[in-house]
Symmetry: C2
Subunit: 198 residues, 2 copies
């Protein structure tokens, strides 16, 4: 006796969500049907609306409903600074600091030769066109401090520096509130190397 | 600068899934948009189809697309045995054993007075109508061995026994493959009390 086909399909479709395996998908499907059919309908509509209306901003490559996103057209942002991040979530994290008022460029990935992701896949030519607008003076590299993020930052530095742009990298070091005793050796070593005058 | 409204709505709507908080919802939304817009569309359709087509079986209370589910109308199942489970997932787990060929009744919950769930909320009158069909001879209680599951089993036993039905409860004991040394004391104690002749 199989499950009803529409239930089977729902469980299968839920597995496209990240981190959702067969057990979680089954739990989610029953939860929606039993406790929240209205939430389920709302979710169905939200997904189809998002897929239909969201596209990439022509300037920063982030998701937006317009041709160019609100941030890129804002006159209150400093257009001379361009911060390059890997993903939209990184942009959101940067914005939450309220410490940056420039513009962004979202790579939507990082260089990862083993996965076949190179400069072409990340459309570095689009990025070059963006930084060459004559307004951008400083590019801030805010890719992750993972191996791939570091490699991406290095590649971007070489590429952008060669075009005469000022390129900087956000700082590595002991986290705010962090105790040296409990910080990993590599981080402490970097914090020492990149020490600054007090 | 807020997120685009359709993205914001998608993140909010994803939170109706069990175990999904704001961070996971954000991750899921971006994942769908970036890597799997087709899967997202499929998910949207699967949800709306499931919500529209699935209803409760008139006989076993499980989800089905028909008036009465395939299992309840099957002539290959033993209609004299009725196994009562809390949830559809419990039914699925029982079926996976291939050790039972009777019919089921799904409570869609368990007695939980603190949450305001009593015999009325679980529609025990429907269950009574079901077991009183003149065909059912034995009712097997397969609610969980949690406090609430046990209380539900006890209540059901009293109710069904008073109507002259044979009522049994699935066995408690040391799990198959389990080592006594590592089994909790309460389970070992029960296994001892409920020992059977060899």
């Amino acid at each position: 006796m199989a499950l009803p086909s529409s239930l089977e399909e729902l469980i299968e479709a839920l597995r496209c969500l990240p981190g959702v395996g067969p057990k979680s998908a089954q739990r989610m499907a029953y939860h929606l049907l039993q406790y929240n059919p209205r939430g389920a309908t709302r979710l169905s509509q939200a997904i189809s609306r998002a897929v239909e209306t969201l596209r990439r901003c022509q300037r920063c490559n982030n998701f937006t409903e317009a041709e160019v996103c609100e941030r890129c057209v804002s006159s209150r942002r400093d257009a001379t600074q361009l911060c390059i991040v890997e993903m939209p979530v990184d942009l959101n994290a940067m914005e939450q600091t309220h410490a940056y008022n420039g513009l962004y460029y979202v790579l939507m990935g990082r260089l990862s030769p083993l996965d076949g992701i190179g400069p072409r896949e990340l459309a570095f030519d689009r990025l070059l066109a963006r930084v060459g607008d004559g307004v951008v003076k400083e590019v801030i590299l805010a890719t992750n401090f993972t191996n791939e993020g570091e490699a991406t930052a290095h590649y971007l530095y070489e590429m952008l520096h060669a075009r005469g742009l000022k390129v900087s990298r956000i700082a590595r070091g002991v986290p705010v509130g962090g105790e040296i005793e409990y910080t990993d050796a590599a981080t402490v070593a970097q914090a020492l190397i990149e020490r600054r005058e007090y």
